[in-house]
């Protein structure tokens, strides 16, 4: 037996399919129909308990190729029906074995559709998942629990890692980077130097990078103070790119405001429209915070918008050579339609290098024009 207690007092019971123990986190649901392995190991889920809305989980076990990180970052997993027997030629262990090995508490047999509805109606909240009893003490602990302010730094690497390549030299700030992001730059043979989230700007500026990328990661972007400070000092000095938390950090650095979504975007089916080309594609998303489009500074052009709820999904700032997206172009799990964004970024970096100049060739007037067009599109 295992139990899930939500901050609003609701309790869901089921069968334990993971480790014995108790863990806290923010409850959130993901609507992807496949990809539980990627989701469990995605560092952005640190201190979160994941509810998979798709009911059959564990189908194909776990395999060595689909990890997003060497450990499980989510603190718990809630599912409807666990497939005790997995079937896949690549599978090296069952989900249950993996959860046990990593000390993750997990429940099956929960009405995940009801739970999802509760989260949707109540909004994001904290929870505790336990194989023990729900005691008053536990309830008290849950009341006091809040996500660590340093959650992103906690999942960030502690040491600098260098992956050499013949392509553009890129500095990557790891605030919870997924393996797929690294892989996507490596496909282009980029020379990657990956830094912990609290790296100092001067250390990076010494390196003569062609661009710096700020990764995805967990938590409230406003809590990522150290990284925000570093990025502030990089702005204008080097082209910057951001994905997910990296995007939010760039928004904050440029003066925009972020806010918490009621229950976030987590799934593999989010439609996003490119406001400049009017092209639509389906993206993989995982974020609990968004940027208030109205606070985006005038030198920034909104580039993408979510078609479900019209939230901002990307921007670029030509005069400062900054581009970032809220969604996950590296997918994993989810559709790779947006992969081309990373391709474009790498192409841009190479082109700039050829042009021997970081800064935009656009005049201020051109930027203003683009800006107003972007805004108009955004309004539409």
């Amino acid at each position: 037996m295992a139990k899930l207690l939500l901050d609003n007092g609701r309790v869901f019971e089921g069968k334990s399919i993971g480790a014995e123990g108790t863990s806290f986190g923010e409850i959130c649901f993901n609507t992807s129909m496949a990809g539980y392995q990627e989701i469990l190991t995605d560092p952005s889920y640190a201190e979160q308990v994941i509810v998979m809305t798709y009911p059959e989980i564990g189908n194909y076990g776990l395999n060595k190729d689909d990890f997003e990180c060497s450990k499980v970052n989510a603190t718990g997993l809630v599912i409807k029906n666990y497939c005790e027997k997995e079937s896949h030629y690549k599978s090296s262990m069952t989900l249950s074995e993996y959860l046990n090995k990593n000390g993750i508490v997990a429940i099956s047999g929960v009405d995940t559709r009801e739970l999802t509805t509760v989260i949707r109606e109540t909004g994001a909240m904290n929870c505790v998942i336990t194989t023990g009893e729900i005691t008053d003490e536990l309830k008290e602990q849950l009341k006091k629990y809040s996500m660590s302010k340093d959650v992103a730094l906690n999942v960030s690497r502690k040491n600098i890692e260098h992956l050499s390549g013949k392509g553009p030299k890129i500095g990557l700030i790891d605030v919870g980077v997924k393996k797929s992001i690294i892989d996507n730059f490596r496909i282009h043979d980029c020379d990657l130097t990956i830094y912990p989230g609290d790296v100092l700007a001067e250390e990076m500026l010494k390196k003569d990078f062609d661009a710096v990328v700020i990764s995805n990661g967990p938590g409230d972007p406003q809590d990522a103070v150290k990284t925000i400070n570093t990025v502030k000092e990089l702005v204008g000095k080097i082209p910057l790119y951001g994905i997910c938390l990296g995007y939010q950090i760039l928004c904050i650095v440029l003066g925009a405001k972020t806010y918490k979504l009621k229950y976030g975007h987590r799934g593999a089916n989010h439609p996003v429209i490119n406001l400049e080309t009017n092209k639509v594609f389906i993206t993989s998303q995982n974020h609990g915070y968004a940027t208030d489009i109205t606070t985006l500074p005038s030198n920034c052009i909104p580039t993408y918008k979510n078609l479900n709820d019209d939230t901002l999904e990307g921007f670029r700032c030509p005069e400062l050579d900054i581009e970032a997206v809220q969604f996950h172009p590296e997918a994993a799990p989810g559709p790779s339609d947006a992969n081309l964004i990373i391709n474009q970024w790498v192409a841009q970096i190479i082109q700039r290098k050829k042009d021997k100049g970081f800064f935009s060739k656009f005049s201020i007037k051109e930027i203003m024009e683009k800006l107003s067009r972007g805004k108009e599109n955004a309004k539409k």
Partner: protein, 1077 residues
């Protein structure tokens, strides 16, 4: 881009008659299309030859043409209507082929008609094997290596390049006969050799064998803005090798990792973009089980059966969105009706598992070849939704409406392990049940997987169910165990059997355990957004989302389940109209059905849709949740009628005709007595339960006799017998499927069959029209050609028919619809059957007489009299319209089936020829059914039974007069000679000669009447007539098995020769033309 405003009038092509592979899903798609166009203010012109469809209702399109789907008809209609555009991708393969022909013949250009949606080039690139191959190579998408060869050397050459195993498919052989899989050179040479021999064009296709790969399908969509999305992916439980239409299918895929799922999705989107399809498209893949190697198997550049399934599985209306795209919209401009706040540019997320199981006609065709392969044999399908695979799969098996609902079946229990293992190799419709049996014997999952290539995941899951069945058999039924059983999808009736308890005991445990079914919503988004769809499925042990508003009382309408021979699209027509009519009467309309191909399971037809098996327990769950005023059983065919007693037992009100009356109509004795009391003539009959009783009956009644089991669909097991021997043969085989009900034996009156549908309010009767069958009694009414209005029935006989109908309706207190079949002999009308429910002919009669029968019937059932409704009781006055219904068969898809017309129904669909004269309607009927009237006069083969010989002299003379040469088998030749009619004799049924002349297309058609039905059934393939008929099917040579049909065909031909110019009009116009020519 918003809607293209230049488009003001659009032509929609229907898919024609229901045949295997092209069923009600295109009615569903077509209706969605018409509605999507109309809501944009576009004028819709619809052409379809199938009168049983909802799309041919006059409220669906602005103009409805029930006309043959021929180029001539279309050119005429296009010239007359001058549409701005044409949508080709919603009418199945028929619609697509027609659109291509219209384009190629320059008709679209000539009349300036734009092909909306997917363009011709895209269609050609997807449909043409070579072009498709080229395109796939160009974009780097793998397809299995293949080559068409006409010699063994060429074949060996190719085999040398590719290696074994290889699949050999002979071109144009029936059911792919002569083909096979070769794993070495010796096998290969043998199969290629025989394949080349058997192929009428001496050609075989050699293909790299990917049998055993996983079969995965993607339903994808694209708009003109190049936005491409995947609506749904599906995984076949049966691996590659069985047609997807004949496979057990789940949605979404279960055994694919995210990477595999995305790899195939990316490929599908790449393909739809390369093809530049605008609308829906289906891409099928083969995926290796031990690597990420995949192959593209097939692309359908149109809305398909799979897309109907995907629409129902996800809630995403593919046909509707395809239509919106065709008129210019982009996906992100089309609102999502389910969430009301998001748009159609998204990919549905499922939080349940969908299982589809095909419905095969083998229960009707006992001699049919049950082997499944690359040619589809199923007539319909069922779908079930569950929160786990186990519950979804169990539900789907229940929805098949087999006698058994369980997985482990008695018939396989006696087999030895070796026999069972050998049978696991056999790919037929029952293999899954043998897998279940194997799992009870501890034959390992690995071994079953090795033999069947079914992915272990599915076998494990089925094992969970089989193991649980064992637990139920061995353990004490605690409330906990019961609860778990319900969550796994077990029925109370099954639990009762397994735990050796009474159903009432189970109900006690149910109450004790506090177990109750709850309902979940299909919402496209896994609860991420609030949904407004009233589309429900049941589950156990979970939160109930069904909120029952108290403002309106509900009425539950029972659907008719999967499409099968004898119970087809017509009942979907009735169910849909019933839902509308119930709502019109101020009630909340609730529909339950298990068929994903239909309009009745579209989420916006009824106020609430319950996608559930047509099984009493599931229906009672709905009743318990909704507490409706009552249940309507008269619109869902025999499936619904059979549920009536069970509902009544459980205290549920049957709205309309009472159960007592239904029983009287269906119970031989009570019905005989009723007719006797009413002084209405009937063929004498007996109900017998023993062979001795049968012998006594024939001694009293005399031959010929019509024998049949009671309570059946479509005349299953019905036969005419001419002597005791035949009767006993029948009786021995028939009794086993009617142990609950007796076998009926009636005098067989060989006369003219006449049929009518009527509406009664219990007092008065409204008869929209009376139809007259072309074939004499003895041919199932569903397989007969029928004429409305009657041509050869005397007015005084008609008066009698009306009088009898009145009497029967009053006596049975019919409230709603009824159908009566008569046979006329010497101007006496004998009643042979009364169906106290909507019949197959309701859609046709509603349309041709402009009488909304279902609506009037429902109003009557709810207490509004016919007079109050503004109708004059009695027979509705006929107009200038004359129509002929012609049945359509699917024999080419089914091996070893005798195509001869018989008392048992065999047709899968029908067409209607409509005009203002009998001859023209007849000509159109034949054309619509696919017959032609070629100018060439070649040979006609005559081979008649002794009974028919004297009746066919006029036919032979007409043939000679028309310039045909008669070829006749010896007996027929001798008879013709005695009548002074010349014919060329084929001695001793020289089959080779007959086959040769069919192969060379020297034979124009065949008239062959079976010696006797019992004979052909008994002797099967040894029967020479049977051989002639099946060979004719194989070579697509028209074959008439009733001299009445042949006579009608020649009549049509004679008329057509002198009047080849047909005119075409919308159905309302035929009724308006007062002057009959």
């Amino acid at each position: 881009m918003p809607k293209n405003n230049d488009i003001k009038k659009v032509l929609v092509i229907g898919s024609g008659p229901i045949v295997i592979g092209q069923a009600a899903e295109f009615d569903y798609a077509g209706v969605q299309a018409c509605r999507a166009l109309k809501e944009e203010g576009i004028n819709v012109v619809l052409v379809n030859s199938n009168p049983a469809t909802i799309m041919t209702d006059e409220n669906i399109a602005d103009k409805v043409y029930i006309e043959p789907l021929t180029i001539e008809a279309f050119e005429y209609i296009i010239n007359k209507e001058r549409p701005d555009g044409l949508i080709a991708s919603l009418g199945g393969q028929t619609g697509l082929n027609l659109a291509v022909s219209l384009y190629e013949k320059g008709i679209l250009d000539k009349y300036n008609v734009k092909l909306l949606g997917t363009k011709i080039e895209a269609i050609k690139n997807a449909e043409d094997r070579e072009l498709f191959k080229e395109l796939m190579l160009e974009i780097g998408e793998p397809i299995p290596a293949s080559k068409t060869v006409s010699t063994l050397d060429e074949a060996l050459d190719f085999a040398g390049q590719i290696g074994f195993p290889l699949i050999i498919r002979p071109a144009y052989t029936l059911g792919g006969s002569g083909g096979g899989i070769a794993s070495n050179r010796q096998e290969f040479e043998e199969i290629v050799h025989s394949g080349l021999l058997r192929s009428p064009i001496s050609q075989v296709l050699i293909e790299k064998s990917i049998a055993g790969y996983k079969e995965i399908e993607y339903e994808v969509m694209r708009d003109a803005n190049d936005t491409a999305i995947a609506i749904c992916n599906m995984e076949n439980i049966d691996p590659i090798g069985i047609h997807t239409g004949d496979s057990f299918v789940v949605a979404p895929s279960q055994t694919l990792t995210n990477k595999e799922y995305q790899m195939l999705r990316t490929s599908a989107l790449k393909i739809i973009r390369a093809l530049k399809i605008e609308g829906g498209c289906n891409v099928q893949y083969a995926l290796d089980t031990v690597s990420n190697q995949y192959y593209v198997i097939e692309v359908n550049p149109r809305v398909s059966r799979s897309s109907a399934l995907a629409s129902k599985a996800t809630g995403f209306p593919i046909a509707k969105v395809t239509t919106k795209i065709a008129i210019g919209y982009h996906l992100h401009e089309i609102p999502n009706a389910i969430t009301r706040k998001t748009v159609a540019a998204f990919e549905p997320a499922l939080d349940y598992v969908v299982t589809k199981i095909p419905k095969w006609p083998f229960d009707k065709f006992a001699q049919g070849d049950r082997l499944l392969g690359t040619k589809m044999k199923a007539t319909g399908e069922v779908m079930a939704i569950g929160r786990t695979f186990e519950s979804s799969f169990k539900k789907a098996v229940t929805a098949m409406e087999d006698k058994n609902t369980g997985l482990v079946r008695r018939k396989y229990m006696q087999l030895s392990d070796d026999e069972l293992k050998a049978l696991l190799h056999v790919q037929d419709d029952r293999r899954i049940f043998r897998v279940a049996e194997a799992l009870t014997r501890r034959i390992s999952v690995d071994e079953i997987n090795h033999i069947t290539k079914i992915d272990k995941w599915f076998i494990y899951k089925i094992k969970n169910l089989v193991d649980f069945e064992q637990r139920l058999k061995g353990e004490i039924l605690t409330p906990e165990l019961y609860k778990e059983a319900k969550e796994k999808g077990f029925l109370d009736a099954e639990i009762a059997v397994f735990s050796r308890k009474k159903l009432s005991d189970i109900e006690k445990i149910k109450e004790e355990a506090g177990v109750k079914a709850s309902f979940k919503i299909v919402d496209t988004c896994a609860a991420e957004f609030q949904a407004y769809t009233p589309y429900y499925y049941s589950t156990y042990g979970e939160y109930d989302e069904n909120t029952t508003d108290k403002d309106r009382e509900g009425i539950l309408i029972l659907g008719s389940g999967p499409i099968r021979i004898g119970q087809g699209i017509e009942f979907d027509y009735c169910s849909v109209h019933a839902a509308w009519a119930v709502r019109e009467n101020g009630y909340k309309s609730l529909i339950v059905n298990s068929n994903p191909e239909t309009l009745s399971t579209d989420f916006d037809v009824a106020d609430k849709l319950f996608f559930e098996p047509m099984n009493i327990e599931y229906i009672m769950n709905i009743v318990d949740s909704e507490k409706p005023k009552g249940v309507m059983v008269q619109f869902g065919g025999q499936t619904a009628i059979n549920l009536a007693p069970k509902l009544k037992e459980r205290g549920v009100d049957i709205i309309g005709t009472s159960l007592e009356s239904i029983n009287i109509a269906e119970d031989r004795k009570l019905f005989e007595k009723l007719l006797r009391d009413l002084n209405i003539p009937q063929p004498e009959g007996r109900a017998v339960r023993k062979v001795e009783e049968a012998i006594k009956a024939h001694q009293e009644l005399g031959f010929p006799l019509l024998v049949r089991p009671s309570y059946v669909i479509g005349g299953r097991g019905m036969q005419v017998v001419y002597n005791e021997d035949e009767m006993l043969t029948y009786f021995n085989s028939a009794l086993k499927f009617s142990d609950e009900h007796p076998v009926l034996i009636d005098q067989y009156i060989e006369g003219k069959e006449v049929e009518l549908d009527a509406i009664s309010d219990g007092e008065n009767v409204l008869i929209p029209g009376i139809t007259e069958h072309i074939e004499r009694a003895g041919v199932h009414s569903g397989d007969s050609m029928a004429i409305y209005p009657t041509q050869k029935v005397k007015p005084e006989v008609i008066e009698n028919l009306v009088d009898y109908t009145n009497k029967i309706a009053r006596a049975l207190k019919i409230k709603g619809l009824m159908n009566i079949q008569f046979v006329l002999k010497d101007d006496i009308a004998y009643v042979i059957e009364v169906n106290p429910r909507a019949s197959r002919t309701v859609p046709i009669m509603s349309k041709v007489t402009n009488t909304p029968m279902v609506e009037i019937g429902i109003n009557a059932a709810l207490g509004k009299s016919i007079v109050e409704q503004g109708y004059t009781p009695g027979l509705v006055e006929k107009t200038s319209l004359v129509c002929v219904k012609v049945p359509v068969f699917s024999f080419q898809k089914l091996n070893r089936i005798d195509p001869a017309l018989a008392p048992e129904m065999k047709s899968t669909g029908e067409v209607l020829g409509v005009d203002t004269s009998f001859e023209r309607a007849l000509v159109k009927g034949f054309l619509a059914a696919g017959y032609t009237f070629p100018e060439r006069r070649g040979d006609v083969l005559l081979s008649l039974n002794n009974h028919n010989k004297p009746q066919s002299e006029d036919i032979a003379r007409t043939l000679v007069e028309l310039g045909y040469r008669i070829i006749a088998t010896t007996g027929t030749h001798n008879y013709l000679e005695s009548q002074g009619i010349q014919s060329k004799e084929i001695e001793n049924f020289d089959m080779e000669k007959i086959q040769e002349s069919m192969k060379k297309k020297k034979l124009c058609f065949v008239i062959n009447t079976p010696t006797s039905n019992a004979n052909s059934a008994r002797l099967g393939s040894e029967n020479r007539g049977f051989l002639i008929r099946t060979i004719a099917e194989m070579y697509s040579t028209p074959c008439f098995t009733s001299i009445d049909t042949a006579r009608a065909y020649l009549k049509a031909m004679k008329y057509y020769i002198t009047h080849p110019e047909l005119t075409y009009d919308s159905i309302d116009m035929y009724r308006k033309i007062k002057e009959c020519i």
